[in-house]
């Protein structure tokens, strides 16, 4: 019985920490995402995206995935991919990048809260994503 009480106490603490991260993050995102600066951000990142074989059409789904994650960004990712008619090569490269590096804010924060090193996680994921996608873009040439 004592074990159960302490387990429930620990579960409550963990739940509280998760709420403390998720609710503000989702709220801030909801407030910020209508700002025009995010719609125009594609111009700034275009050179960087070329390096990994992507065009600016993929900017919105890519950055939605990087910051929000694949499940939350699903609506935007699917919609933009279909509207812009992204070619298969670009979809695969974007998927590969996102597979390695997505939902960076939320996923890393929750591990920092339980004692992990956020910079190490972010550094390895971002580095690996750029490396793998860049490599794949050079292997899979456009025809």
């Amino acid at each position: 019985m004592e074990a159960l009480t302490s387990a429930l106490g620990g579960a409550a603490t963990l739940s509280f920490k998760l709420i403390l991260i998720i609710v503000p993050l989702v709220t801030v995102f909801e407030v910020l995402r209508h700002l025009p600066i995010f719609r125009r951000a594609g111009n700034l990142v275009e050179p960087a995206m070329k390096g990994v074989g992507l065009t600016r059409d993929a900017a919105i789904p890519l950055f939605t995935g990087i910051f929000l994650g694949i499940a939350y960004g699903a609506g935007i990712i699917i919609r933009v991919a279909q509207q812009k008619g992204l070619p298969g090569r670009e979809l695969f490269l974007m998927g590969l990048f996102l597979a390695t590096c997505h939902s960076v804010v939320e996923d890393i924060l929750v591990f920092v809260v339980i004692g992990g090193n956020g910079f190490v996680i972010l550094g390895v994921r971002l580095g690996l994503a750029v490396l793998l996608t860049g490599l794949m873009a050079r292997l899979w040439k456009t025809d």
Binding site: S15, L18, D107
Partner: protein, 179 residues
């Protein structure tokens, strides 16, 4: 009957228009016009709490289950089976359950298993890296496949990348530790 969609390609001319299904995974709606700030805050708070509740509904039972199992020899025994595999990444055998939970459910399920195991800082970082790359494979694989690229290929890629990054981080940590 006029083929309205051809004459007035409404959806194509407004890229910011909402999709036909206007609910995202977490229940946030895509409003057609930009809603005012207080509406946005309310939408955000509501979506955030809804998401939290869904996450907690999974992670609390998992956390309690693992904590109670820790008092019995069951967890040690099962952990011993996976110890050689997880040892490659510098993790204890019990961490295998956290990975199963993260792969099939989500990262919060993985966390709910990790916390009762009392891992050290390197091990938590290692779990965070590997689970951050490969988690929620069923749902996210489905999302990625709807974009036209094969979902299962990317899920397989994620598992391989997660393993590779785990080996990389263990190597890096070793080098840093020596310097």
């Amino acid at each position: 009957m006029l083929p309205c969609n051809r004459v007035f390609p409404i959806r194509e001319s407004f890229p910011q228009m909402p999709p036909l299904e206007s609910k995202s995974e977490r229940g946030a709606t895509y409003a057609e016009s930009v809603p005012n700030i207080s509406t946005r805050i309310r939408t955000g708070l509501y979506a955030g709490f809804r998401t939290s509740l869904r996450i907690i509904a999974v992670s609390v039972p998992l956390y309690v289950g693992v904590t109670l199992l820790k008092g019995t020899p069951v967890l040690d025994m099962l952990g011993g089976v996976f110890a050689p595999w997880m040892g490659v990444f510098g993790l204890p055998g019990e961490a295998a359950f956290a990975f199963v939970a993260a792969f099939l459910l989500n990262i919060y399920a993985g966390i709910a298993v990790i916390v009762p195991l009392n891992l050290d800082s390197f091990q938590v970082t290692q779990c965070g890296l590997m689970m951050g790359i490969a988690h929620d494979l069923i749902v996210e694989g489905g999302v990625l496949s709807t974009t036209g690229t094969r979902g299962w290929v990317l899920s397989l890629c994620r598992l391989i990348i997660a393993a590779a990054s785990g080996l990389l981080l263990r190597g890096l940590w070793h080098i840093w530790g020596l310097l």
